[in-house]
Symmetry: C2
Amino acid sequence: MDEAGQGDRAEQGAIPIRAARIQDVAKLADVSTATVSRALATPERVSPEARARVLEAIAKTGYVPNPAARTLRSQKTYMVLVVLPDLANTFFSKILRGIEETLFEAGYGMIISDLDGSPEKEAHFAAFTAAGRVDGAVLLNGHLFGQSREGEGQPARITIPLVALCEAIPGADIPQIEIDNRAAASRMTRHLASLGHRRIAYVSGPANNILERERFQGFKDGLEAAGLPYDPALILPGDYTIEAGVRAGQDLVARSTRPTAVFCTSDEMAIGLMRTLFSAGLRVPEDISVAGFDDIEFAAVAEPSLTTIHQPRRELGQAAASALIDLLQGRSSPKRIRLETELVIRDSVAPL
Amino acid sequence: MDEAGQGDRAEQGAIPIRAARIQDVAKLADVSTATVSRALATPERVSPEARARVLEAIAKTGYVPNPAARTLRSQKTYMVLVVLPDLANTFFSKILRGIEETLFEAGYGMIISDLDGSPEKEAHFAAFTAAGRVDGAVLLNGHLFGQSREGEGQPARITIPLVALCEAIPGADIPQIEIDNRAAASRMTRHLASLGHRRIAYVSGPANNILERERFQGFKDGLEAAGLPYDPALILPGDYTIEAGVRAGQDLVARSTRPTAVFCTSDEMAIGLMRTLFSAGLRVPEDISVAGFDDIEFAAVAEPSLTTIHQPRRELGQAAASALIDLLQGRSSPKRIRLETELVIRDSVAPL
DNA sequence: AAGTTGCATGTAATCGATTACATGAGGTTG
DNA sequence: CAACCTCATGTAATCGATTACATGCAACTT
């Protein structure tokens, strides 16, 4: 409305209304726009004198290239999409940070999509991606876009580089960055068994979740290695949340014969479960040992402190971002990167 | 590498390499590109027949508008930047979710910048913003961009709509969404005093932080209201992290006369502090009461469960996003929105 | 019937960069 | 010395949408 008026008047005034364009820089440096562009993108192809004049003009005008124009022409956005199932989950925040810092160093920005279990959102972000708003994506949600829908017309194929982080995507020919969930779960199970526990309960992740399947396999591996029988009655359903841990705890409290140890496949569940046990007057680890998975920040300061599997979350994020950057810049990347986990022994698990 | 080869061959094959453009849709629907554009942006200005043909053509081609082209012309990105001091901090994740869901509903995407205390990053994102990559920003970091630097050339003024969330920005003429930190801190202090505590310690946030200043004022208000003296020896430095709580706990443990209650200005610090007290053989709340602030997820399941101030984090995020969207769409927004907090009484605080 | 209004639509300018191609200067080679 | 190459630079096409302006037609007014 009145902006136009201001714009007209501003010519003689102090406040430049429009941001400087490449043309303004070119004029000031007395070169063509092509030279300005080259001075920034490929400085070695511009004479030192011209480059100096261009840089000076840029400093003087405060020129910042218009990303939309750049993207339109070059088809590069310097943006990466990070798809995650639940932004509010503590587990992801440090991973995100690892991703963000690595992307940032390479000049990429990060767009976050919290799917929140909504297929609409997933479709939206699939379209978003197909529209070319990002150069690549990190998938933390365990599956590719739009694998569900099939219909008339092309389903907007996504052809940009992708990497899968944490939750491997079976059959997808993209780099997978993860830990060895099966080995880690087996390790924890054997640790519990080695302390004399013979009735070990297992609080699971969501059914069909790939992490869950691997950890569950690891749990069974561990039982077998320790010569313990597998008892379906000791498998409690969960979904990695605090509330699931609380519910699993209620289940246990209500039982007449209880396990002596519980392996929760997330720290959140372990903390929720311990809470319920305390409320029922049970002690950890005296009455029942509790183990977690992930080693989130609160694991070390829980009461009692939590024996768990340490996941290098920041490094996972960094590795995923690096792999993606490799792809984006035309380099190749290993198809599978597995980072080491660590069994962290604290106070929530004790010998029988 | 071999992608190019595939591209060449694909011409006669099944896979369309290029995404459909508005021209393709226009041709198929037998209308001009202008009509296609209008059919999407202002459907009421297009005849029902033309609209139907356009929609059909869009469905057939899988057309998605190119955001770069759209942004270049219309100067709208439909992107919002969220600036936060620390992505790995649990406190922010639920706020982010509130922001994200509200933005999403309004058709905006969210770009996250984790400043991580780095001035470089701040400068980068200031440039990012100045370059017009986002339509607006939510600032959770307590200050505006680039208030520090002054130099030759225009410092790339940022003129897009901004809102401040949680940490108010004094003097900035932008909507501020927050809680009444002072009143909440006062409330908690009076609660502790009402239970008979007379030596109440206070674990602070970072010096100069606006939240800290307000909460500290509230603490003093509360002391005064309860007729208690202010004792500088009972003020412990902190920065809202678990580690700061641990350190404050070590300080307390080492003292000969200890306070009977500790008011930590974040739940993280309260949890870290309790951890240290336990390790030293002290009991909460029998030996010492501990109160927190924020009511993060873990507050309810900590052992003992944490008496704290509940902040409506999701609603804060939603309110900030709504305010920003109002501004982005040319509506006005209240300059100050204060959401209600709640004193949540749990087990970590007991009468003297 | 002439003039006015409003609607649906098309034409083409425009946003601001990148980059293919052209040009001319200076250097090298046979 | 002609032919050729290299290098720095400029010219202008291009990316794919939005939108100002123009146009043509139908309906309404007087």
